[in-house]
């Protein structure tokens, strides 16, 4: 069974603070993704990665950094959190050179006050 684990499940941060969202996958998939989900926008791609050491910008990368130190781990970093980054964040993993089936984590609900 594919397994993508996100931590924390819930996070409250203050404006201007640094936030790190973590994701671990045990699928041995090459590709990993960070999306955010907002009402009316569906899932929007922030960053993705083809493997350890690789990070690529998605459609809405501004205000976010990503880090892929290993095959298993992919982090999303908000250096200076803003209230507009309040959202639910989903991590996913997938295999292959092209996007195919993605396996999602349970999501992290981030509130920036």
């Amino acid at each position: 069974e594919a397994a993508v684990t996100q931590s924390p499940r819930n996070k409250v941060a203050v404006t201007g603070g640094k936030v790190t969202l973590s994701c671990n996958q045990t699928n041995n998939h090459n590709n990993m993704y960070w999306y955010r989900q907002d009402t009316g926008h569906g899932l929007r791609l922030i960053h993705y990665s083809y493997g350890a050491g690789s990070t690529e910008k998605g459609d809405i990368p501004d205000g976010y950094k990503a880090s892929r130190p290993s095959q298993e781990n992919f982090s999303l970093i908000l250096e200076l959190a803003t209230p507009s980054q309040t959202s639910v964040y989903f991590c996913a993993s997938g295999q292959g050179a092209s996007a195919e089936t993605l396996y999602f984590g349970s999501g992290t609900r981030l509130t920036v006050l």
């Binding site: 090459n30 590709n31 993704y33 999306y35 009316g40 926008h41 569906g42 899932l43 929007r44 791609l45 993705y48 083809y50 690529e56 998605g58 459609d59 989903f90 997938g94 292959g96 050179a97 092209s98 996007a99 195919e100 089936t101 993605l102 999602f104 984590g105 349970s106 999501g107």
Partner: protein, 112 residues
């Protein structure tokens, strides 16, 4: 701009009826098309997908229709059931790229 678009934010269907969910895309290089299902407070899961070399794919009550010239694909759910009530997200991708782009989602409600 939105590369993958679902123009209907919501749809209500009677139990036993056919649910038709629609998705339009802009990039004619897309060659992979998928539908994901998402329950509230849960993560999206893949329902069905097709490559651009076919116009239709069936899997039980689910059928995906692909209209490449119209840059449009749809999901048909026959014999709709209350447990089909969920948000349905369409997605598209391009060969050689891991990037998968999602639409805004359509909330389907199947009423009994």
């Amino acid at each position: 701009g939105q590369q993958v678009k679902q123009s209907s934010p919501s749809l209500t269907v009677q139990e036993g009826g056919i649910s038709i969910l629609n998705c339009d895309y802009e990039n004619d290089m897309f060659d992979y098309f998928a539908w994901y299902k998402k329950y509230p407070d849960n993560s999206p899961t893949l329902l069905i997908s097709v490559r651009s070399n076919v116009d239709k794919r069936e899997d039980g009550r689910l059928t995906v229709f692909l209209n490449k010239s119209g840059k449009h694909f749809s999901l048909h759910i026959t014999a709709s059931q209350p447990e089909d009530t969920a948000v349905y997200l369409c997605a598209a991708g391009q060969g050689g790229s891991a990037k998968l782009i999602f639409g805004e989602g359509t909330k389907l409600t199947v009423s009994s």
